[in-house]
């Protein structure tokens, strides 16, 4: 049974409707959860920055190796060096925050530039850009990173630059398509007819009004990818290096004891990763549906 119901017998002004009635509940839950996660991430970033932590994440405690959760005052237990997992989790964000932002900003700025040029100019430039994106897309990210590591050194920033660049095509194509779509709708001609300057059209009308949803989504997804990528690299030994905590190298070092049935040290950070990335993805989904309001169609 699916129920449709009308709130009042006559609705004069729909904009007066409270927002939770305008959109599907699922989306609102998604976005809510996503925002919560984002807030948590920011919070722990700040906590880490000022070192407001239950313990010093570097403090080694040799008589308390791999303590289970809630032993002594270690809320989430300790890792293989007897360091407080909770503090390291919070601190771990530091490893991603700036590098992640770097990666995102690279792929966004690059993507926007290429996308706008391709979509707006078209012609030969567009084909050239298409070839470029295809070229970048030809590299399996992880393998490329291994090459870079071998050539230079396992440094999170190098890795994130590579990730940023490999992220460009997705953004570029998305934006280009959007612009083409708008062009079909004679949106751009109209704007030109209004005598708007190209810059204004692109920045305000195309990017801001029509692409922000898309960009936000790309950004959130990018953060998630950054975390997963670093985790994979940590497993290969090329991620953020000890003693700096990162969720990746926490899962990795914890996983050494996983098969011996000592799950916790790797599960804690793994769950952190899971919930965070889930949050980012759902945020993306929800925003997408709400801003484009998909569900109503």
């Amino acid at each position: 049974m699916k129920k449709y119901s009308q709130t009042s017998s006559v609705i004069e002004d729909f904009s007066k409707l409270p927002f939770w009635q305008k959109y599907a509940v699922v989306d609102l839950i998604y976005v809510g959860y996503g925002l919560l996660i984002v807030a948590l991430v920011l919070l722990s970033y700040i906590l880490g920055m000022f070192n407001w932590l239950p313990h010093d994440p570097q403090q080694i405690n040799m008589d308390m190796l791999m303590a289970p959760p809630a032993t002594a005052d270690y809320l989430l237990g300790t890792d293989f060096m007897g360091r407080d997992i909770l503090s390291r989790l919070i601190m771990g964000i530091q490893a991603y925050f700036l590098p992640g932002l770097l990666a995102i900003s690279i792929s966004l700025s690059g993507g926007i530039l290429l996308g706008v040029v391709a979509g707006y100019r078209g012609g030969t430039i567009e084909t050239i850009i298409t070839y470029f994106t295809n070229l970048v897309d030809s590299f399996p990210r992880l393998v490329l990173i291994l090459l870079v590591i071998a050539a230079f050194k396992p440094d999170i920033y190098y890795i994130m630059v590579v990730m940023g660049i490999t992220g460009v095509p997705a953004v570029a194509t998305a934006i280009a398509n959007k612009i083409r779509f708008l062009a079909q709708k004679n949106f751009i001609e109209a704007a030109i007819a209004l005598g708007l300057r190209t810059r204004v059209i692109i920045v305000k009308h195309i990017l801001w009004y029509n692409c922000r949803a898309l960009l936000i989504i790309q950004a959130t997804l990018g953060m998630g990818e950054a975390i997963l990528l670093e985790t994979s690299l940590s497993y290969l030994g090329f991620g953020v290096q000890e003693p700096e905590p990162s969720w990746g190298n926490m899962v990795q070092s914890g996983a050494n004891y996983f098969l011996q049935g000592n799950f916790w040290p790797s599960t804690a950070p793994a769950l952190a990763i899971l919930f965070t990335i889930l949050g980012f993805n759902l945020l993306g989904d929800g925003l997408n549906n709400i801003l484009e309001d998909k569900r109503d169609k």
Partner: protein, 367 residues
């Protein structure tokens, strides 16, 4: 006494706007009849619910809540049934002073029964052609194959070769030049007019007893339009197939239909023999019909360059249907005598002459 082939009674098809959180009363209590070998034209502005009516008959309404009431009796030589048989079980409508407040619908159940009811009718008994023929043909399959499919699905010709022959025959019937060549071409390679011909061929190829033509000429340019209409006229006289013709184009309607229903805001406001309803000079005339007719240039008007009156005001907002006459807001023939009634009470569809019904207080015979 031949009973009507199709008898729609008090059909109600609603939609639900999630963002506006209220019902769109697309079709609100429509009753129609299509007799054997008869063509009934349904005319009205866009948004008047005429297409939705057609879709409801076909059971093609997929967005909720969709059809929530009424009955559609279909009686051909082979099949007699109510196309909404037993569906009321799946819907629960809560009303409050004549206005639907809530609908709870068992979508799955509805779908199941509807599919079962329609299985041996769609395409076989009732065929449909749509507006925008290009998009209505599958771009990935050749025209010929699409027609052949229909033939094999619904006629005795099961073998592929027979079916193909049949398809070619129908392509000839609809006057597509060099049909054998067209047979193998994809819709993208055909002009809009040809696509529509192909659609018609496909619809007729299964030899249905009722043809629903939903805006068959819209989106085609004028010359093509008239050609299509010619074709339909011809086929009608040849096959004598009964047709429910939906169009906003009065000229098309007037050329093809025996009877005409004028729809406004999801309801039929006038219903009767074509020549009477579409006759400008007729004494009894529904204000809306009059307005519609006035908005179409007649040969006379074109000659003495008279300027046309468009209908003032906007199409009815089918979400907030006013309590009174649906057309009241735009009506220019309200007399002080009836104004108060028009504003507050919905007029009934009443017979003003044999076989000619009207929904207007001016012609309401006091009961």
């Amino acid at each position: 006494m031949n009973q009507p082939l199709l008898k729609i009674e008090n059909l109600r098809t609603y939609f639900y706007s999630r963002s506006k959180h209220s019902f769109v009363r697309a079709v609100d209590g429509v009753s129609l009849e299509v007799g054997q070998r008869e063509t009934v034209g349904v005319v009205g502005e866009s948004g008047s619910g005429k297409s939705i009516t057609a879709m409801s008959v076909m059971g093609l309404i997929s967005t909720g809540p969709g059809v929530i009431g009424g009955s559609i009796h279909f009686a051909s030589a082979r099949v007699q049934k109510n196309l909404l048989e037993g569906l009321h079980k799946c819907v629960k409508v809560e009303e409050q002073d004549g206005r639907v407040m809530a609908v709870s619908k068992d979508e799955r159940g509805w779908q199941k029964t509807a599919e079962r009811l329609m299985r041996d009718l769609r395409g076989k008994e009732i065929a449909m052609i749509f507006q925008n023929p290009r998009a209505s043909l599958n771009p990935y399959i050749t025209v010929g194959e699409q027609i052949t499919e229909a033939v094999r699905l619904h006629t005795a010709n099961k073998s592929v070769r027979e079916a193909r022959e049949r398809a070619v025959y129908w392509l000839e019937r609809v006057k597509i030049d060099s049909p054998r060549l067209r047979f193998n071409s994809y819709p993208s390679a055909l002009s809009g007019g040809m696509c529509q011909r192909a659609m018609i061929a496909m619809a007729l190829s299964s030899e249905p007893s009722l043809l629903i033509a939903d805006e068959p000429t819209t989106g085609l340019d004028a010359t093509i339009q008239s050609k299509i209409v010619d074709l339909m006229e011809e086929l009608k006289s040849e096959t004598g197939i009964s047709t429910l013709l939906i169009s906003h184009d009065i000229s098309v309607i007037s050329r093809l239909s025996d009877r005409v229903a004028v729809m406004y805001g999801g309801a039929v406001v006038e219903y009767g023999p074509a020549q009477r309803v579409l006759d400008m000079g007729a004494a009894t005339k529904h204000p809306y019909t009059a307005a519609l007719l006035a908005s179409v240039p007649s040969a006379q008007q074109i000659r003495d360059k008279a300027n046309l009156q468009a209908i003032e005001g906007d199409v009815l907002d089918t979400i907030n249907v006013p309590p009174g006459c649906r057309f009241y807001a735009r009506c220019n023939q309200v007399t002080p005598a009836v104004r108060e009634k028009c504003a507050t009470h919905q007029p009934e569809l009443q017979e003003v002459a044999p076989g000619h019904q009207m929904r207007c207080w001016r012609y309401a015979v006091p009961a």
